[in-house]
């Protein structure tokens, strides 16, 4: 691994940046929702305190293979997201990455969702199973849009290498693709109005109902990293690649934070959709947008 590769994995946007940034984004989300609801909201370090507290809690003992699996799922989620963050094409001028890393990024971003579904089924809880089914159905719907949106961006640049995809272009297909990715983020992060799989008033915590202690803390960490990875993907696609690093890094964090605030406002201002309505949204509206985007991108690419 190159020097820049190591920096990306461990420092920026890797673990050293992503973990505090993820907690900060989680705090920003909670704070924004609270302010919109006229509450004060949590203090800045609350997600950190929550994580530490969860690490120290004793959990009910489970036996058999399910005990091992339930501990492994959040670990897989955290590791896959750390890998996805290392792949993000920040500092695109460093010429890191490899051909086709965009496909790997999409696959790594999907691992937490798969682990979430498996955790629900493994837990044996009826609430966990309902949450897992909902997540699976919703994941199929929004992944089609996400894949089409990313393919749209890739087709406009004629490459699946993330470093070449980074930065804004004049091609409208690029921006429609970015919009498609933005539309998928609430479902990926299980935010309102697409929070059916973790609907706390209906099915407690969905797939995570049976989780406690350190394993739940790791899920919380994975959720924080998911914030950074998904908003970071959009940030890399819209930020000019030619910026020097000392401008690029704060701009990256700022664009991510802006997305967090907008998504939090949407989450606070909307009610939870039913599963059917969420699927309809992604298949009808976002799906149509994604098909149009890929059509226009292909037309421009092949000069039709």
């Amino acid at each position: 691994m190159s020097f820049f590769g190591l920096i990306r994995l461990f420092i920026f946007p890797g673990v050293l940046f992503a973990v505090p940034a993820g907690w900060f984004f989680v705090w920003a989300e909670h704070k924004a929702v609270a302010r919109i609801q006229r509450r004060i909201g949590p203090p800045l370090l609350q997600p950190f305190y929550d994580f530490i507290k969860l690490l120290g809690k004793r959990t009910p003992a489970r036996t058999g293979v399910e005990a091992v699996l339930l501990k492994l799922y959040p670990v897989f989620s955290v590791l896959s997201l750390a890998g996805a963050l290392a792949l993000l094409p920040v500092f695109p001028h460093s010429a890191a990455g490899f051909s086709g890393d965009c496909v790997l990024l999409v696959a790594l971003l999907e691992v937490p969702s798969i682990c979430y579904i498996l955790a629900g089924f493994t837990s044996g809880s009826i609430y966990g199973q309902i949450g897992a089914i909902r997540e699976a159905v919703l994941s199929v719907a929004n992944n089609v849009v996400l894949l089409l949106a990313i393919v749209t961006v890739a087709v406009t640049e004629n490459t699946f290498r993330l470093t070449d995809l980074a930065g804004p272009t004049m091609n409208p297909g690029h921006w429609i693709g970015v919009l498609g990715i933005l539309l998928c983020i609430p479902a990926k992060l299980r935010l309102n109005p697409f929070s059916t799989s973790s609907a706390e008033q209906e099915i407690y915590a969905g797939s995570l109902t049976e989780y406690a202690g350190a394993a739940l803390g790791l899920w919380e960490l994975a959720h924080a990293l998911e914030w950074v990875a998904l908003t970071g993907l959009v940030a890399t696609l819209v930020l000019p690649a030619a910026l020097p690093w000392f401008l690029y890094a704060p701009a990256f964090a700022l664009v991510c934070l802006l997305q967090v605030l907008v998504l939090s406002a949407i989450a606070a201002g909307t009610a939870r959709y039913t599963l059917q309505r969420s699927i309809n949204f992604y298949w009808r509206w976002a799906g149509v947008l994604a098909v149009l985007a890929i059509g226009s991108a292909a037309a421009m690419r092949f000069h039709l």
Binding site: A34, I36, I40, T270
Partner: protein, 164 residues
Amino acid sequence: MNIVRLIFQNLRKGTVSFRLPHRHECTSDEYRGLIQNDASRCIGCGACAYVCPTAAIEVKRSADKYSWSYDPGKCTFCARCIDRCRPNTLSIESKLPPLYSKQGELKVCYEMEKKKPAPRPAPAATALAAAPVPVVVASAQTEKPVETKANAVPAIPTAAENPA
């Protein structure tokens, strides 16, 4: 677009909640705060501990002493203890309990000497002399049931009494 207007309106108005230790002042006289015990009048009967659903009140007795303790951390402020207290020594505050950070920080405990029962009127001095009243602390189990209206069912007149 109503929701967008509402969001901006809420952001402009500011927050209505407080960060601890700042709190709203209690404005209702009927607010249920901490239980207070007038130890000078308490007879240690233990009725309050007996009816307390969360065991927030505990009464422990020894030969010549008893202790009364109250842990607000366990209390649900149901006030059943006050309803049950015969000497009316318990009362409930109408202000917010103070903040505390450690478990059991607000717990109070009184240790008191057992009180002798109040002297009874002596209609039959000879009988008392023959069988002196033992020194017994009144307890919930030894109390006589109160005759309520529900208990006091009027006798049904018989056919002979009420020929009509």
